[in-house]
Symmetry: C2
């Protein structure tokens, strides 16, 4: 499926846009993309903010100018347009499990990695809050808190993956996409899957080998 009348504001290196690109690759959907460089502040320039009020990336622009931001909202738009393969579940329990895991990974994993990164990376020294937020100083203690909470995330995920091939059950889902992106994002702050999480390692090798992982 080619969606020619929309545009995805993207940044190839950043974790959140990658969630959308992997999702689109799993669906076999092509969308026009425009690169936005966050480190140099391109997402805070007037021409971008005129389109994308919150200054976040990714954002999907529809042909009438409507903006959908938030990676998961963009993914849900495409899930509704093209339900197969279902990546958000198809029965009530499957839907709930996937949403539960997708959010657990965000709140226990991704947010902690982001807290470490945004509060330590030199080019975000005055931009520790994302998007169009006012200039915000880094808080080193937030990075330390993120580091102290990550072990709990790895063990939660490892327990789950002892019982299931994919994070939310027998099938690949958006929870695996958030998980994969979180593991790779963690490398930015020198955090890797610990040795005592072999189930996470097995799963990570498997999902990394899918063609969509290079999207």
């Amino acid at each position: 499926m080619l969606c020619g009348l929309m545009k995805l504001y993207d940044m190839v290196k950043a974790p959140n846009p990658r969630r959308v690109r992997i999702f689109l690759a799993e669906k076999g959907i092509d969308v026009e993309r425009q690169e936005v460089d966050i480190p140099s502040g391109q997402n805070r320039q007037p021409d971008y903010l005129t389109r994308v009020r919150r200054g976040v990336v990714p954002a999907l622009e529809l042909d009438d100018g409507t903006i959908i931001d938030e990676s998961i909202a963009i993914c849900r738009y495409f899930e509704a347009l093209q339900p197969d393969p279902p990546l958000f579940g198809s029965d009530p329990l499957g839907i709930a499990r996937i949403e539960s895991w997708q959010r657990r990974i965000e709140f226990d994993g991704m947010i902690n990695v982001a807290a470490i990164f945004r509060n330590t990376a030199p080019h975000f020294a005055e931009r520790a809050a994302p998007g169009a937020a006012p200039n915000t100083a880094q808080i080193p203690a937030m990075a330390e808190r993120g580091l102290s909470l990550l072990p709990g995330f790895w063990s939660l995920l490892d327990e789950q993956l002892a019982d299931t091939p994919f994070i939310a059950g027998p099938n690949f889902s958006v929870a695996d996409i958030t998980g994969l992106v979180t593991v790779d994002f963690a490398k930015w702050v020198k955090q890797r899957i610990p040795d005592d999480a072999p189930n996470v390692q097995r799963w990570y090798e498997q999902v990394s080998a899918r063609p969509s992982a290079t999207a």
Copy 2:
């Protein structure tokens, strides 16, 4: 609809469980509830953690012991069981708009209010991270950051509500539930809808008057 073979772990005063209760009230669904007192640490006791691994509230326990945590995942479970009235949208654009706003309110509003509250409330002095996370000291600078980011949230919401009766469009949705709960949660940290956000005030009065708001 009465769902008798499941149980909702709830806390009447807390914001996240209230999201689920309002959602259920809008759907006309009754579920057995069990109160869990977070301030006294009941959610960190072994008997709760045996059931709800992350120690979070709310959590939904199904008749086979399956746990669904994360408020929005619980809401999605009930949306799939009983689609009417649709609170997560029904067409691709409506679904995407609701999810986009639901997450904008969480990330720009609710998380900042929570950052203020968890990093200042005396009874969370050593429990600044939620659920079963290890003891975590409060970070006063996080509360200050939350305070500095909230004005951007009010203005984002006010701009949107200048154009629409409800947050994500013409119909009441889960985005309004997250919004309502965020406004009331903000009062805990002495933050109120500012005078220069009349559209938020109009919307708040309207959604607060719905019978579900007392759930």
